[in-house]
């Protein structure tokens, strides 16, 4: 269902009207959950396989976490976590239809849209809750809050990924908060409108410019530059526009979502970039993959191997999460190497220049401009395996050789 679908407007209008009614009061959470369930039914066009897979994923996770909360022993909670996580990851891999893992042996079971977005983001929220429960950081799991957190129409498809304690705090304030005011709604819709302009005007223009055919039909340095830059820019503009819409909608119904972008085009290296681009995703991978892996190596004394191993593994996983072709893993590995190299370069500079010299280096405008330009080139090139398959890349390289 497109954001411009009339049903989306009806859903939002229903939310705003109901939330503005005084008598709805303490039932606001239930109202938002009901509207979110209606959104899912419309989004997946009442496809029972997709909705059934979703219900099973949510149900199994909820019961597992409830068991974890009733278990006093940390090791038993750990076992429960792995008993849920290992099969869940296997089912997710099958549903995601990884070509390099299963080939065409496994038929598509659920809607590709549900897996590409939707389930992929749901898995993050579920891992976050399960890990928190395993470590005793979550003490209660009220059913309506849990369901709304996982299925909310403003974050279900593609985030931003909000943390559960943050969500609970805001959910708890819903019942006691004043009714929705026109000022809040106008401010929120402004943000959503900005997002729609990014997605449906600028995004569409970039999308049209991002195809392979214009370059092959008219090879030249200009069309090559357009081929390289248009797709990464399209992804950025389209997704940051989508996040603007969702942050605006969420604000209208009483939730403040975390920001997902902070001027990524100004990034000077891969570390800086992932602190600015799809921030909630990179924080998730940092917290749940990169930190545990690096800590595991460091605690065992393998300090030299810790950074490259953790960076490569977590970025390879992040790449695999983005899509089902091997090219996505290559994209992740390239960024993992970039992150490890950026940290290594910083350590070298710190050792050679000292603390004050490094600060001067980082503050230098010339260095900043040069580093940003170099990184942007790295950035657009890294998207080649993300956008194109092997056969298409072969045609691109063959054409580039003729220039």
């Amino acid at each position: 269902m497109s954001l411009l679908h009339p049903a989306m407007f009806l859903l939002l209008s229903a939310a705003l009207i109901l939330l503005s009614l005084e008598r709805v009061g303490r039932w606001r959470g239930q109202v938002l959950l009901s509207l979110s369930l209606a959104f899912l039914a419309l989004e997946y066009e009442f496809d029972m396989a997709s909705l059934g897979a979703l219900a099973a994923m949510v149900g199994v996770h909820y019961l597992t976490v409830r068991c974890m909360l009733r278990t006093a022993s940390p090791s038993a909670r750990g076992w429960l976590f792995w008993l849920w996580f290992a099969p869940c990851l296997g089912v997710f891999a099958v549903l995601k239809h990884y070509q390099w893992l299963t080939g065409d042996r496994v038929a598509r079971i659920v809607s590709p849209e549900l897996v590409t977005v939707g389930l992929s983001f749901l898995l993050f929220r579920q891992i976050h809750i399960a890990v928190s429960a395993m470590h005793g950081s979550v003490s209660a799991l009220p059913f309506v809050e849990y369901l709304t957190y996982n299925l909310a129409f403003w974050t279900f498809l593609a985030g931003p990924i909000q943390r559960f304690d943050d969500f609970r705090e805001q959910f708890g304030r819903l019942a006691g908060s004043a009714s929705v005011t026109s000022r809040t709604v106008i401010g929120s819709l402004n943000r959503a409108l900005l997002g729609m302009l990014k997605m449906f005007v600028l995004g569409r223009l970039l999308q049209r410019a991002s195809g392979l055919e214009p370059f092959l039909a008219d090879p030249g340095y200009g069309s090559l530059a357009r081929l390289l830059a248009a797709y990464p820019l399209y992804l950025y503009v389209n997704f940051s526009g989508y996040c603007d819409v969702m942050i605006g909608l969420a604000r209208a119904v009483g939730f403040k979502l975390p920001e997902n972008f902070s001027s990524p085009l100004l990034a000077r290296n891969p570390v800086d970039y992932w602190n600015r681009f799809h921030i909630t995703l990179s924080e998730f991978f940092r917290d749940y993959v990169y930190y545990p892996l690096q800590l595991a190596f460091e605690r065992r004394g393998f300090r030299a191997a810790a950074l490259p191993a953790a960076a490569l593994s977590s970025f390879a996983l992040m790449g695999a999460w983005h899509g089902n072709r091997a090219g996505f893993v290559v994209f992740g590995l390239v960024h993992g190497m970039g992150v490890a190299a950026a940290f290594g370069w910083r350590s070298i500079l710190r050792a050679r220049l000292g603390k004050d010299g490094l600060r001067r280096y980082m503050d230098s405008l010339g260095i900043r401009i040069a580093a940003t330009a170099c990184f942007q080139l790295f950035w657009v090139l890294s998207f080649l395996p993300y956008q194109f398959d092997g056969e298409q890349l072969g045609r691109i390289f063959a054409t580039v050789r003729t220039l």
């Binding site: 890990v131 928190s132 570390v271 930190y291 545990p292």
Partner: protein, 88 residues
């Protein structure tokens, strides 16, 4: 300065290679040079060694979230110390 803060000051000075660093509860990633993702892990490992504790993934992640400061680490260590004393 409490014992925990004094020991943390030593840890911070060694990890961030800054012998003049003065530990305060309001120190955060923006105010300490080198407290990035890599520095955070080195800080965690050094803290674990200094205090003989093991932090969980959730605690480590929380320490790096926006708005969290060195004071959060102090409170975490204090909680661990009191839990250890209660067990003992």
């Amino acid at each position: 300065m409490t014992d925990i803060r004094a020991r943390l000051q030593q840890v911070f000075r060694e990890v961030f290679d800054d012998p003049e660093l003065e530990f305060r509860d309001d120190l955060d990633a923006n105010s300490v040079e080198g407290w990035d993702s890599l520095g955070h892990i080195h800080l965690i490992v050094a803290t674990e060694r200094a205090f003989g504790i093991r932090l969980t993934t959730s605690e480590i992640a929380r320490l790096k979230q926006n708005g969290e400061t060195a004071g959060t680490l102090v409170r975490l260590i204090e909680r661990r110390a009191s839990a250890g004393a209660a067990k003992g």
